[in-house]
């Protein structure tokens, strides 16, 4: 789910950086309230563990394929949301820098898509309410907590990955770099991440249950005394479940909807009636291509016998300037080659230094 730099417009990237920076600031402030120095090595080792854990292939029973762990939910369950969020930022930064997963510019967006939802939305809206709630109380304490951990992990991972995947689509569409229609992109991303979320949730659940069996004190919110204060009724848990169903179902309804471009239609589609102008929306400046129009146009071109040879209306590239553009480009390429050959100069210099 890592977004590359090239898929983001700088304005979108900057917005996401700002959003993530606010979340980071809040996390640091919250973290300073308790013992930070003591927690830092634990955070670092957990972040390194999750990073390493992403290298493990988990064989999915019944299929020939295998899945991976992303780890946001697991970090949160062990470290708490604020420390988990900061650890996740560090993991994403190292992935961007050392493994070309994501990018420097896209880091803000990636932090939001993969850490914010998992650590905050997933923890406060799903994980904590379920673990502190009264679900499965009839089955004895240990069994009840075990079941709650499984339910919370699976629901949390599925819901937060759906949110993350939807954000990826939204950010790409707002950046306007791809002509892929919004609806088609959503239709690809959401089901894929539903499957990924399920596997992630089950692996997370397996690891957390294992920890609960051996060292329950390491997990957040399973201690009966700490949980007593925030103990909630089954009713509030049901509210949480409703939220999750709404989020996941929302993703599906977009797929099933006959008009998948509802968002764009609502913003730009009824431009004839002056809606966009009234709302102060300018499609060109907004950076969103009306994909519905593109699809229709593409279809029309396929059907019509002779393609429309009207030139694209782009002021920067009138036909007349094409020649000079091509010639100049060739010169730049030549200069690049020259630098590449001149590299021998540096190499010789380095060789001379060594000897």
């Amino acid at each position: 789910m890592h977004m590359a730099d090239a898929l983001l417009a700088p304005a979108v990237a900057a917005t996401m950086y700002a959003a993530s920076a606010v979340a980071t600031g809040v996390s640091i402030r919250e973290l300073r309230k308790d013992e930070t120095p003591q927690k830092l090595p634990t955070m670092a080792v957990m972040a390194a563990l999750v990073f390493a854990g992403q290298m493990i292939n988990y064989a999915i029973p019944g299929t020939g394929s295998s899945g991976h762990l992303c780890g946001g939910m697991m970090l949160t369950a062990v470290l708490g949301p604020f420390a988990g969020f900061l650890s996740m930022i560090v993991i994403l930064a190292i992935q961007a820098l050392f493994f070309a997963d994501g990018g420097l510019l896209a880091l803000g967006a990636n932090i939001w898509n993969m850490s914010f939802y998992g650590c905050f939305a997933g923890y406060f809206l799903i994980y904590r309410p379920i673990l502190r709630g009264g679900l499965f109380s009839g089955r004895g304490r240990r069994a009840a907590v075990r079941l709650r951990i499984i339910l919370a992990s699976v629901l949390g991972c599925v819901a937060t990955l759906q949110l993350g995947a939807f954000s990826v689509v939204l950010e790409t569409a707002l950046s306007g770099v791809t002509e892929l229609p919004f609806g088609a992109f959503v239709a690809v991303m959401q089901p894929i991440h539903l499957a990924i979320g399920l596997v992630e949730g089950l692996v997370t659940a397996a690891v957390l249950v294992f920890i609960y069996e051996s060292r329950p004190e390491l997990l957040m919110d399973v201690d009966p005394d700490a949980g007593a204060a925030g103990r909630r009724s089954a009713a509030s848990t049901l509210v949480v479940l409703a939220v999750v169903v709404a989020v996941v179902g929302g993703g599906f309804s977009l797929l099933a909807s006959g008009n998948p471009d509802g968002l764009e239609w609502s913003m730009f589609g009824n431009a004839e009636s002056g809606y966009s102008a009234n709302m102060g929306l300018d499609e060109a400046r907004f950076g969103v291509e009306s994909s519905a129009a593109d699809t229709v146009a593409a279809l029309q071109e396929k059907v019509s016998f002779l393609p429309d040879y009207a030139f694209a209306n782009d002021a920067e590239n009138p036909v007349g300037t094409t020649v000079s553009g091509l010639l100049g480009s060739a010169l730049v390429a030549g200069a690049a080659l020259l630098i590449a050959f001149a590299g021998g100069f540096f190499r010789k210099k380095a060789g001379a230094q060594k000897s």
């Binding site: 957990m46 390493a52 290298m55 002509e179 593109d294 429309d308 009207a310 694209a312």
Partner: protein, 267 residues
């Protein structure tokens, strides 16, 4: 046969070795390199999607740094092998949805979609190269120092440094575990479902013990919650000029289509 963990481990080692070399670029101030990289990526990515000739000027920066830093370009493309197809796949749809011809090349009409696909791929390659070059010429300690100078919170920078150091430890340990597991379960594609929890869970439990031992040993050596950086990296005139030159060039290239300007001068 190498498992994924040891592969990642050796990639870290390779990057550390590259960053530890001593070329002209390696000696530059880390803050300058970080800023140049950020401005470069932002400028390259912000080019309009049809402005292929203007974007081409941006190739000069990575080509120069590759040559001046003596970093083999091969290692960069090896690193990008997983990510690049993804970026290209997104661009691959453009020729199908944007088919209005933009200009004629010989007798061939080049459509807007083809141009925007090419520029998207170039942006992808350029930005990946720039980040790679930054990290291949700057050791992580220097980078953290630069981040501190940019007022990134201390706790985040310390965490980054500590995590980076511990990743290699954990990757090594995990690599041994994976080898041991696969030797006992030959022909199995991944970790069996019965061991999903225990496999990573065991490592997690051990790591938590390791973390508390780590904290105690650091405390014994007088650690108070943050690292202090040696003020070795003085901002030299060379570094300053280097930064000013490139940032000015990026901004100029972004505002004026330099390729076209060059062509017009000759035609």
């Amino acid at each position: 046969m190498m498992n994924q963990a040891s592969e990642a481990w050796s990639e870290f080692k390779a990057m550390d070795e590259l960053a530890g070399q001593a070329s002209v670029i390696h000696r530059l101030h880390p803050l300058v390199k970080l800023l140049v990289t950020i401005v470069y990526i932002a400028a390259a990515v912000s080019f309009p999607k049809y402005n292929l000739s203007g974007l081409l000027v941006m190739v000069l920066y990575p080509v120069f740094v590759f040559q001046a830093s003596l970093i083999p370009i091969r290692t960069c493309f090896r690193k990008m092998r997983v990510v690049l197809p993804l970026v290209c796949a997104v661009g691959l749809f453009n020729p199908f949805f944007d088919r209005a011809p933009l200009f004629m090349l010989g007798g061939l009409a080049v459509s807007g979609g083809v141009v925007s696909m090419l520029s998207l791929m170039m942006k992808g390659i350029f930005s990946l190269m720039a980040s790679f070059l930054l990290i291949a010429t700057t050791p992580i300690e220097s980078l953290c120092q630069a981040l501190r100078q940019m007022h990134v919170p201390k706790i985040l920078v310390t965490l980054l440094l500590l995590t980076y150091r511990y990743i290699s430890v954990l990757l090594e340990e995990l690599s041994v575990m994976l080898d041991a597991y696969h030797l006992r379960a030959p022909g199995q594609k991944g970790i069996h479902v019965s061991a999903w929890g225990a496999f990573l869970g065991q490592l997690l439990l051990r790591s938590m013990d390791r973390a508390s031992a780590l904290y105690e040993s650091m405390q014994l050596r007088g650690w108070s919650g943050a690292f202090y950086y040696v003020r070795g990296g003085r901002l030299t005139v060379t570094s300053l000029l280097y930064g000013v030159f490139w940032i000015a060039l990026f901004l100029l290239a972004r505002l004026v289509n330099l390729s076209q300007l060059l062509g017009t001068l000759l035609v």
